[in-house]
């Protein structure tokens, strides 16, 4: 009698590229995520274009004041006679693409205020959440009590306190977003860490005598990545909202660069004379936030399906 060979047919292991494509195709599997991504990409592209070219200089009063949309000014002009479309495009920069450093030399770093604010929250939230979740006990008590106390302040009051304590500036807004975003992310990371630390591979790491920081950052954090990134995407949306709110209150990003919140605030003062002015920046804020939300929601759904 012949004996079947002991070999098992195995598919070849996938390359880095095909893995990346797998992740990307996850986005397109969800219609919601695709729509969200398209909206976000639209604004990103507009922002990048504005770095090199806008229809007119965004800060110069070249036209008649308070014009409705027409063939020269596609979205009309504001109360100082500046082209709204150009200002809208340039307004994307401070939110998503560049952060101005303090000082006279006008240096900027890539990545917008909203993005850096969320990255900051992601960093502090992850560190605090991992320590609270993995170490437990007093670590957990102290970290979470402090963060809870922070959450107890209304976000808008926190913004006001932080910005008045320091001075107006991009980095201060980044800091404000970081402070208000950290508790939420820490809470999420903590709950994920509490779950992941019960898995056997964490026991295996412990029985190898790994240090707590290795276990937290190398064993737990990579597996918490999915939900945390989805949450971070949502938070970029909230941060854009917050920047809009601050701009509206007049304590947002400093001039001269246009930002959407300040545009709404400026137009508000003339709302009974020229009501069109508030609409383009409001729609811009809303659409970018909705885009990010749709993207995050779709991703969450797909990730959940894959984990099943």
């Amino acid at each position: 009698m012949t004996v079947a060979p002991q070999t098992i047919d195995v598919p070849p292991s996938p390359s880095r590229w095909s893995r990346a494509w797998d992740n990307l195709s996850l986005v397109f599997a969800s219609r919601i995520a695709t729509v969200g991504l398209v909206i976000v990409l639209l604004w990103l592209v507009l922002g990048i274009v504005s770095l090199f070219w806008t229809p007119y200089p965004p800060n110069s009063s070249l036209f008649t004041q308070n014009l409705m949309p027409n063939s020269t000014n596609w979205l009309g002009t504001d109360h100082l006679g500046r082209d709204i479309l150009s200002r809208l495009m340039a307004g994307t920069q401070v939110v998503l693409l560049k952060t101005r450093l303090p000082g006279e030399n006008g240096w900027v770093i890539p990545g917008g205020v909203a993005v850096w604010g969320v990255i900051g929250a992601l960093f502090f939230g992850s560190v605090l959440g991992l320590n609270a979740g993995y170490r437990g006990g007093w670590w957990d008590q102290i970290i979470m009590q402090v963060l809870d106390a922070l959450v107890a302040f209304p976000a808008i009051v926190l913004y006001l306190v932080i910005i008045t304590a320091f001075e107006q500036g991009d980095l201060v807004v980044v800091f404000a977003i970081t402070v208000t975003g950290t508790p939420g992310i820490a809470r999420l990371v903590r709950s994920l860490a509490l779950d992941i630390k019960t898995r056997d591979y964490i026991r295996a790491a412990e029985t190898r005598g790994e240090s707590p920081s290795y276990i937290m950052f190398r064993e737990i954090l990579p597996n918490a990545r999915g939900p945390v990134l989805v949450d971070a995407t949502l938070r970029v949306g909230y941060a854009i909202f917050a920047i809009g709110t601050l701009g509206f209150l007049g304590i947002g990003l400093p001039p001269p660069d246009p930002d959407w919140g300040s545009m709404v605030n400026d137009a508000r003062r003339f709302i009974f004379v020229f009501s069109w002015g508030v609409i383009p920046p409001s729609v811009a804020i809303a659409s970018l936030v909705i885009g990010l939300n749709l993207f995050a929601d779709g991703m969450r759904e797909e990730l959940g399906r894959y984990q099943k």
Partner: protein, 708 residues
């Protein structure tokens, strides 16, 4: 067997498909069987072969994306396929009942049991509240629920798992259904509880006029409760016969392979071998064109690869899906060479070192009176303020034993008996409360943070759950390589080669190096888990149920692999399992634990023969044996395991001990005094008041074991 003409359930050419992203998957194909009144039809197969899907198709629980693609399901003459959801719902409640695996999920935790049961009658039958109450109590008594009237007023969490399953079964029987579908009803239960539930099911079959469809992966359970058996493989039914025929003369090569790869109670590694089935079950979208079993079949010929066999009726009502079944003689079967080789060497080794318990002599691990208590915080104000009496869960109590180098100590016991805690204490995931523990020359009473790297390196662990044993974010190679880097056993530049060498010794190819865990099957993950434990070349490996989550054919391969490792590297192992047959097969010495206390310890063959502890006796009589002809004594424990916070005084087992009556005063001494350790020779110790002569006079639980 005389059977009435019309079957209760007749399934013909059933195919069930699930719609998934990018097409659909036929989970079940060409399944035909019928169940008659009073029959108990078993459906066995490994996980993912479509057993549950068949059951769900019958009750139309396929979910939003599943549907019956072809075939018919005739229930009492009516075709269920194509019926409206409303009609099916009425049928389900009235004529078809289903019992699921986990009773805790089948019962509503926020409703009293009585109300849940009565609802069945008041909703489907329109019976008045008070009459329903009476009938429910009556039914609970019929399933041997103690204190039935009282149980009606309780909530699900207030009764034990075995009792919950009794309630679920009683509930299923309330409407006197024509068909009772049971989907792994005892898989989540402990072996002693399982035995009692199986007794109940076997009795119901005789008493009620119900057709039972019994789904399970456990051949031992099938042998105990079924009259007919259908074996499923990769979505098809490959063999169908009476239970005696299946075990005595399995026809299909798959059934033969399945029976060869489970250890029967009483077999050990020196006298027998397990023969795993090579390869793995093909996923539903990659099934071969010919016979689905052909790629793994030892007898496959060209015709098997080209043409799919039909389910043929042989003489004596046996149905089999194989072209060449008449030509196959299981007696002529030759095991694959490598397994054969292994058996020879293991045999040789065992011969050289008899008795097994003294091989290599020197103990590597010594425990003396090791205890592990967990503090419990009470809910009262005194406890919160720290004024109340300190209470402890006594998870491990007075563990004393030594393990000789190169041998395996098996630890058995029901869930919650402290076997995992014992292992965690030894490896240092928990620090011990008191007692001494020495490993080689190291003191190991402290937790991991107090231990030095040289010690940590020598103790490694293999885990139970293949899905959580590997970190999903890292490749196989990274995970096996990490201990090598961490302990510096291999220079960094050679880690890759060393990992590949290790992978090959686990029978995984070098191409597994870059795989992520989600691309592996359960058995492969477990192999990687073993490789990772071996990477630091430890002297002691602690295995916490390494095979209990795996299918039997994979289980055999993993057990062989562990034996292989032990033979080559002379590794010492502690092996936890709840399956007594597996422990018997794998271990040189066995310890039986109950409620944190070791009740009996000694060489494996001595444990499974009188004299034994009354608890061991009860465990052995509960093991489902995959052979319907074996006679097994029925010893069933009453009640449930007491709480470890207040363990019973004296002997911890006295509340449930069926042998206590043999002592004067109905065993009053057992309630008062801690039993002595009685030496039964050859390192065999029993923790019991009963004199050794009495223990030795018990009849063996399983007949074949005595002669073995």
């Amino acid at each position: 067997m005389t059977q009435p003409s019309a079957p209760i359930l007749k399934v013909e050419n059933l195919a069930v498909a699930y719609k998934v992203r990018g097409g659909e998957i036929e989970a079940v194909q060409n399944v035909s069987f019928d169940i008659h009144r009073g029959d108990s039809h078993g459906i066995v197969g490994e996980s993912g072969c479509g057993k549950s899907t068949v059951a769900w198709a019958i009750v139309n629980f396929l979910g939003a994306n599943g549907y019956v693609k072809r075939g018919s399901i005739k229930f009492l003459g009516q075709d269920l396929v194509g019926k409206s959801p409303e009609e099916l719902r009425r049928l389900r409640g009235d004529q078809i009942a289903m019992v699921f695996q986990d009773p805790m999920q089948a019962l509503n935790p926020s409703m009293r049991l009585g109300d849940q049961m009565k609802e069945v009658l008041t909703v489907h039958r329109g019976i008045s509240e008070s009459e329903a109450e009476d009938r429910c109590v009556d039914m609970l008594q019929r399933v041997y629920m103690p204190d039935a009237a009282n149980v009606m007023r309780r909530y699900p969490h207030q009764i034990s798992g075995g009792q919950q399953q009794r309630v679920v079964i009683a509930m299923a029987l309330l409407n006197n259904p024509a068909l009772l579908i049971m989907d792994e009803p005892t898989t989540a239960l402990d072996v002693t509880v399982e035995a009692a539930v199986l007794d109940l099911i076997a009795e119901l079959r005789r008493e009620f006029d119900t057709a039972i469809m019994y789904i399970t992966h456990n051949l031992g359970v099938v042998a105990r409760v079924c009259s007919q058996v259908g074996v499923m493989y990769a979505g098809e039914m490959v063999e169908r016969a009476s239970v005696e025929r299946i075990f005595a003369q399995p026809q299909h090569p798959y059934t033969q392979g399945l029976i060869r790869c489970i250890p029967t109670l009483g077999e050990d590694k020196a006298s027998s071998a397990l023969y795993p089935i090579p390869g793995r079950v093909p996923p539903p979208n990659a099934r071969p064109a010919g016979c689905i079993y052909a790629p793994r079949c030892d007898y496959a010929q060209q015709r098997c690869r080209d043409e799919r066999p039909a389910l043929r009726l042989l003489a004596d009502g046996v149905q089999v899906r194989c072209h060449f079944t008449e030509e196959i003689d299981p007696g002529q079967w030759t095991p694959p060479e490598e397994v054969e080789e292994m058996v020879e060497t293991v045999n040789g080794q065992a011969d050289a070192a008899t008795p097994a318990s003294t091989n290599n002599g020197k103990p590597i691990l010594e425990l003396h009176d090791l205890r592990k208590y967990y503090p419990v915080t009470g809910g009262s104000l005194r406890d919160v303020l720290g004024l109340g009496e300190k209470r402890f869960v006594k998870a491990v109590e007075g563990a004393t034993f030594s393990v000789p180098k190169g041998s395996t100590l098996g630890i058995v016991g029901e869930s919650g008996c402290g076997k995992s805690t014992l292992i965690k204490t030894i490896i240092g995931l928990e620090d011990s409360t008191s007692g001494q523990a020495r490993f080689m020359s190291f003191d190991i009473t402290e937790g991991l943070s107090e231990r030095n790297m040289a010690l940590i390196k020598e103790l490694q662990m293999v885990f139970q759950n293949p899905d959580s044993t590997m970190n999903p974010s890292y490749t196989v190679g990274q995970q096996i390589g990490r201990p090598m880097v961490r302990f510096g056993t291999v220079p960094r530049s050679q880690v890759r080669d060393e990992v590949i060498k290790l992978l090959q010794s686990m029978r995984l190819g070098a191409n597994y190096y870059d795989r992520l865990p989600r691309q592996l099957s359960g058995g492969e993950k477990q192999r990687v888990g073993i490789a990772r434990a071996l990477a630091s070349r430890p002297d002691l490996i602690l295995c916490d149920e390494p095979v209990s989550a795996l299918d039997v054919s994979v289980q055999a391969a993993i057990l062989n692999l562990l034996l292989d490792v032990q033979r080559e590297q002379n590794t010492t192992m502690l092996f936890i399992a709840h399956d007594l047959s597996v422990v018997r097969f794998f271990s040189d010495n066995v310890a039986v634990m109950y409620l944190g206390q070791i009740m009996e310890i000694g060489p494996a063959d001595a444990i499974y023969r009188p004299p034994y502890h009354p608890y061991t006796e009860a465990l052995l009589s509960a093991v489902p044996i995959p052979d319907p002809t074996v006679k097994q004594k029925q010893i069933r424990l009453e009640g449930s395991v007491p709480s470890a916070v207040d363990p019973p005084s004296g002997c911890r087992f006295h509340t449930r001990c069926p042998r206590r009556k043999l002592l004067p005063d109905d065993g009053a001494i057992c309630t008062r005094e801690t039993p002595p350790w009685q030496e039964a020779g050859d390192g065999h110790r029993i923790f019991c008041h009963l004199p050794l002569e009495t223990l030795a006079s018990f009849d063996p639980v399983v007949e074949s074991l005595a002669t073995h």
